[in-house]
Amino acid sequence: MAINWFKYAAPSSFYGLIGKMIPWFAWSSGILFIIGLYIGFFVAPTDVQQGEAYRIMFIHVPTSILSMFVYLVMAGYAAMGLIFNTRLSSMMASALAPTGALLAFLSLWTGALWGKPMWGAWWVWDARLTSELVLLFLYLGFIALQAAIDDPRRADRASALLAIVGSVNVPIIYFSVKWWNTLHQGSTVKFSGTSMHVAMQQAMYTMLLACWLYVIAVSLIRVRSIILERERNTQWVTDLPEVTK
């Protein structure tokens, strides 16, 4: 029953549940990072055209892909919070936003550091790059709006509207590659053969998974503090073992 389900999604039970889950996510993320980096740096061969610089890919691609994915997840949570008035989903949305913004920033940063040796410029105004920049702005707008409103309930609802409207923009920005000449993934970037080396693929997917788990772990920790901040007047929070001890 839907109502029952919402009851289980009440902050009090969720708080305990994720408290137990966080270490699992954190540790598996750490281990996968080590494995991924090992494959990426020691197993995967040097790329014929790009030399060692291509190894940036193993951090660039996961952060890039996740930055977009996280936005959609965040917008989804925000929409849920707005429509069903579930406090928890709004909190999840605000917990995801900073991580998403950081991922977007990392994508830009690693991309820029990759671009300099490959294209000879830190930055080109290519559609892919620009759209990533715009994504960063969307995140920052979400965070800024939430920070600007004092009342958390109001902040949730206002920023949810923004996130929803903004998510309409994501595909438009993303597909604008089509309408634009593009350097990213253009002729400069070609891996040996039609497909990547198996080890490269393995490293990339491992790193992607590791990053994903990292995102989950970090945002769950953040959502726990958000829950504490917002529910500070409730009895169950005052009775928590970490508070009473």
């Binding site: 702005f137 709006l145 600007a148 409103i149 109001r154 923004l162 903004g166 309408w179």
Partner: protein, 227 residues
Amino acid sequence: MNRLSLFGLLGLVIRRDLILAMRRRADVLTTLIFFVMVVSLFPLGVGPEPDMLRKMAAGVVWVAALLASMLSLGRMFSADYLDGTLEQMMLVPQSLSMLVLGKIVAHWMVSGLPLVLMAPVLGLQFDMSAQALWILIAGLLLGTPILSMVGAVGAALTLGLRGGGVLVSLLVLPLCIPVLIFGTGAVDAAITGMSVASHLLLLSALLLLALVFTPWVTAQALRISME
């Protein structure tokens, strides 16, 4: 009880906002002059080579239009909010979305339409071809209402917040980028002889989308901001 028809309401709100704008005729003029000035600043900043200027023209005009309509967003709700009129508007026994639509239309007429009318003059300054000019105008005609509508959402969300003026740009500019891309894309296509229709069609689609959703979203945002 007396109740206005939907269109009566729309007309009334538009008329009201136009009267208010006319009471400060300077307002209308200044958005326009801001637009003209931004466009004219570029040759000053960039240098006077005609070839480069011609290439830049559509982009500069579009960016200036975007900024000008951004600048006038603050006006859309904040005065009404501060003096309590907005509160009263939410108590009007009629659809708030419709009322919002009225305000958006009035805003566009005051700060979007003059830009569209001014654009040809500026385009000539940059030595654009007649065909490119027509496309520019068509694009602006489709695009500036979208800017007003998306801007309304941002203005409503940031209502009563300090620093709202800048925050609203942060929220709205990314959302307006597609408009900018299609608008300038159309002109580029016209210059390079490619098909213009697809860009303009996309702009029309965006306009329709915005027309359907933004008044409602703005109304919701207003309700949230008033709480």
